[in-house]
Structures are given as C-alpha cells and as structure tokens.
Symmetry: C2
Subunit: 189 residues, 2 copies
C-alpha cells in the first residue's frame, strides 16, 4: 500500500525580501516559531494582516524563509469571506492571480497578483517517488477514509531530493474529508 501522511495548510503567506522590509522595517528578518514538514521551511513568529474588499484576516502566519515573490495562500472559504477570487494554482504560478493589501507593523503593500488557492499536491522525496513508481508532475488520486470519506483526484506529484513525503491540502479539503495533519492516506491511482 502506498501511504502518505496528510499536512493541512491553513491560510499563510510567503514574503519577498523587499516586502518583508516594507512590512517589518529595513533590516528585519523572520524568526522561527516552529519547523514545517518540508526541510528548511518554518512557521515564523511574525504575522501580517491581509485586507480584501469585504473583510480582513488580522493574523496571517508568515512561512519562511523569504521567497523571490510574495504569495498568499487561502482556502476558497477564506476568499469568499474577504471578497477576493483567487485561482487554483501550483505554488509559484502566480501570473494574473488575485491581488490583496498586506499590512505589517512598519508599513503596508498592495500586491496586484500573488494570491492563490493552492492546488492539492504531494511532496515526494526522490527515493519515495522511486519506491512508489511515481514521476514529477504526475496526477494522482488519493483516498481519505472515514465517515466523510472521499477520493481526491487531480493531486499533483512534486518530486525532489529536497522534499519530505507529505500530502498538502487546504482547510476546505481537510474539513470536507474530516481529515487532519498526521492522518495516513492511500494513493490509489
């Protein structure tokens, strides 16, 4: 059986070095609250407010380290709540995605693109992918069992020697399935 642990992503943001400086002040850096499942990634102590046309989230967790471009990842439920309409995208694919206002203790930025609903995906270490017979960018189906059991199709395989085995879904997907971080689920196709 090809099992994978679940990692549920709540809304979060990645910041560019330039935006970090505007939001937290020149020379500011992110400080680690706790490590994430992917090697080198961490939840920062720092948070920002994100402000949409119909509402805002006052404390959105920043994930570090900084990235080349700022990216806010929200669930569809979140998006409705604050009045934005981001596309479902793979991380990093932000061209013509949604915009948002971001506010930090030292300043504010308005981004014209960078807000997405993350496409469900599995991180595979190269050796996991080999063992499971899976290649990068393959589309997979994964069964989540239980009283709200469902099968997620269109799960994107991402393979790298930098990755640790983990199925990343958002809170809508987790809640629809009654799933939580650490559950073990099965790749069925």
């Amino acid at each position: 059986m090809r099992t994978v642990p679940v990692g549920v992503s709540a809304r979060h943001i990645h910041l560019s070095p330039e935006h970090l400086a505007v939001l937290f002040g020149e020379g500011a850096s992110l400080t680690e609250l706790k490590p994430l499942s992917q090697p080198g990634q961490f939840a920062a102590n720092e948070t920002v407010e994100v402000i949409g046309p119909k509402g805002s989230f006052p404390k959105v967790r920043i994930l570090g380290p900084v990235r080349r471009r700022t990216q806010l990842e929200v669930s569809r439920t979140d998006a409705f709540a604050i009045g934005i309409n981001p596309p479902v995208r793979e991380s990093g694919d932000i061209a013509e995605s949604a915009g948002i206002v971001i506010k930090g203790p030292a300043g504010e930025v308005k981004i014209e693109e960078g807000v997405i609903v993350a496409a469900r995906h599995i991180h595979f270490h190269t050796s996991d992918a080999e063992q499971y017979g899976i290649v990068d960018k393959q589309r997979l189906s994964v069964r989540l069992s239980g009283e709200r059991g469902l099968v997620l199709d269109q799960v994107i395989a991402r393979v790298s020697p930098e990755f640790a085995l983990d199925l990343h879904i958002d809170t809508d997907e987790a809640n629809a399935a009654g799933a939580k971080t650490g559950d073990q689920v099965e790749i069925i196709g």
Copy 2:
C-alpha cells in the same frame, strides 16, 4: 448516466415553534424570502445570531417551516471559527450533538444539543430512485469533476415522494471540489 444537481448548503438553522416564540416574540411567524429546492421548504427573511465560546455568526438564515426540534447546521470550518465541535449527522439525528446560544430580536435560548455538521446526502423523489435503481439509506459515491475534481463517498440516499432530486453538500465540500449550486454531477457507485 445517473446525474444529480448540486445544492450547496451554507450554515442555517431550523427552529422549533417554542424557540421561534422566544426568539421573535409570542405569535411571531416566519416569512418567506425564497423557496428552496425541496417542496414546501423556504429560506425565511428572518435571521438569528448564534454564539459559540470563541465567536459568533451574527446573521444565520432560518429555513422554514418550523420543525419539531431546533437544529443548527454548520460546516466544520464554521465550527472551528466559533469554538464548537458538532458531530457529522443526518438531519434530525441530534441526540448528544453540540450546543449553542441563539439570539433573536425578542430573546435568547441556549440549546444543549441540536448543532450538527450535516452528512452529505441526496434527496431522491421515489420515481428518480426507481429509475436510478437506488434504495433509501443506500451509501453512494458521486464524482464531481473539474480542476478540483473529487469523488464523495458515504453519500446517503434519502428517498421520498416529498423530495426533489438534489445532492446536498456543505460549503467545505463545495469549496474543496470547486462546485456550486446547479452543477450536474454523476453517481458512480
């Protein structure tokens, strides 16, 4: 192909006659805003506030007509937001479910049980069920297609001459699938 239209249920409440009187005043009745897909059911103009330990929803739509017992239906996302932990249940099965405080213009009630996350289900008119070869209480699997395609298992068939054909899912399930009211989906097993 056995297709079914989708009906997405946002959080809503059904009130008992006794609670309606407390919340809106002796002799008050519900007034119809618009009919629902199920014959005789309607969204009322009236709303209530529901108050949990960690937050509240100020305007929860009442669905009419009144029912024997008060029942609040929320998504898992809603439940986390206001700090309650309702079970996944079929409508009407509220024994030892979660409690909540409900506030109306004329008064307030605290219920000890009645809050549930609705179990996904399909309403079949008896003639639809016959045509599709489906019996009451059967568990079905339904495919929702698209970029967030998934298969919902554990879908409960409910058959009655009072029902109109409709798959009822909550906002978490709809958002996880990228589905909306009126989409046509397929029963696959």
